[in-house]
């Protein structure tokens, strides 16, 4: 059997940053998986991480449905305006968030692109499904925070998964 789950690129922030972009993504895989570990510089409050595909801005072609537990309550919702990775911790202590984003059949030019994401942190767990309503192959992914910045030391690694 062929080994897969190949690292494509990795970024470890040496200073806080407003966004992280993986561009010129190799088109030779079936799926992408992005693994994240880090925090936002937003005081003690959790922050949202948005997902932009191929350089698009919010409100263009993204939709998501989420499911979450936060400080003892659960909820879910839908947005017809954007895609998200999820929620991350604010960087006031040793709390760290981690997340996984799976992007399916990203290089085909036939289907809209769907992704699943999970994040967890000190007081929340979040899952969401995104649909990007374009058939264009995905060649770049940008993650960016809603209010704060990604804190120094945050790491992002993109892997490619190839089917048999």
């Amino acid at each position: 059997m062929a080994k897969t789950y190949t690292p494509i690129a990795t970024q470890k922030l040496t200073a806080s940053a407003a966004s992280v972009t993986f561009s010129s993504i190799n088109q030779n895989y079936t799926d992408l998986r992005l693994i994240f570990s880090g925090t936002s510089t937003r005081d003690s409050t959790n922050d949202i991480v948005y997902l932009s595909i191929n350089g698009e801005t919010l409100g263009t072609n993204g939709r998501y449905v989420n499911l979450y537990g936060y400080s003892g309550s659960a909820g879910s919702g839908f947005s017809g305006s954007y895609n998200v990775l999820g929620i991350i911790d604010g960087a006031t202590g040793w709390q760290q968030s981690s997340g996984i984003l799976d992007v399916f059949n990203y290089s085909n030019s036939t289907t809209f692109k769907t992704s699943l994401a999970r994040t967890n942190g000190s007081d929340f767990v979040h899952a969401c499904v995104n649909t990007w309503t374009q058939t264009t192959a995905i060649n770049s992914i940008r993650l960016w925070t809603n209010i704060g910045l990604f804190a120094a030391g945050s790491t992002f690694t993109l892997y490619g998964i190839l089917k048999a």
């Binding site: 059997m1 799926d31 570990s37 399916f104």
Partner: protein
């Protein structure tokens, strides 16, 4: 348990921020299927027992010509059609409310409750990651977990599933059935994880 660095090959104890990056263990592609429109099911057979876990990654759409984001995907192992399956799931929707449900003594395992159908917006597919844990172990029943969903529109759904197959037999074949049959461009891939 140590984690091996992506860059240096050095083992660490944590994938947390500031530490060296994590590198996955062995993850191998076993088989894949791209069912043509109208295909009722996909079979993965002769699955090697040499992995620790299996993972199915799929995008799916139902060929049912109606509209409505609610056709399901089912799994059956080793052709067992007995009432040996149970499942539970947690749901997130546009309504803002979460819901949960489950059934026991089923003849197959429900693992995805929502897929766009032929009458829905074109080109939208569900996303599915299905983990079949310790599938080759002959001393325990088999547990499955799955995260699935689509954001077709305001009727989009995300679901977190857990399933049980009450058999201690090693899993050597998996049948994935789509309610209303698969639509063109659906794709399923089976991986082995160590």
């Amino acid at each position: 348990m140590a984690i091996t660095s992506l860059k240096s090959g050095i083992s660490t104890r944590s994938g947390m921020v500031g530490n060296t990056l994590i590198y996955p263990g062995s993850y191998e592609s076993i088989a894949s299927a791209s069912p043509s429109a109208g295909t009722a099911y996909v079979d993965f057979t002769s699955i090697p027992s040499t992995y620790t876990h299996l993972q199915i990654r799929a995008i799916c759409r139902s060929n049912d010509g109606s509209a409505g984001n609610n056709n399901g995907i089912y799994a059956r192992f080793n052709s067992d059609s007995g009432s040996n399956y149970s499942f539970h799931f947690l749901t997130g929707t546009n309504a803002g409310a979460t819901g949960a449900a489950g059934l026991a003594s089923q003849t197959e395992m429900f693992i995805n409750a929502v897929n766009p159908r032929g009458g829905d917006t074109a080109n939208v597919y569900s996303a599915n990651v299905i983990d079949i844990l310790d599938y080759a172990n002959t001393n325990k029943y088999k547990t499955v977990r799955a995260l699935t969903g689509d954001a077709l529109n305001a009727s989009g759904v995300i679901r977190l599933f857990s399933g049980l197959w009450m058999s201690a037999t090693a899993i050597s074949s998996i049948r994935i059935t789509m309610e209303g049959n698969f639509a063109a461009n659906s794709q399923l891939a089976l991986y082995g994880v160590n």
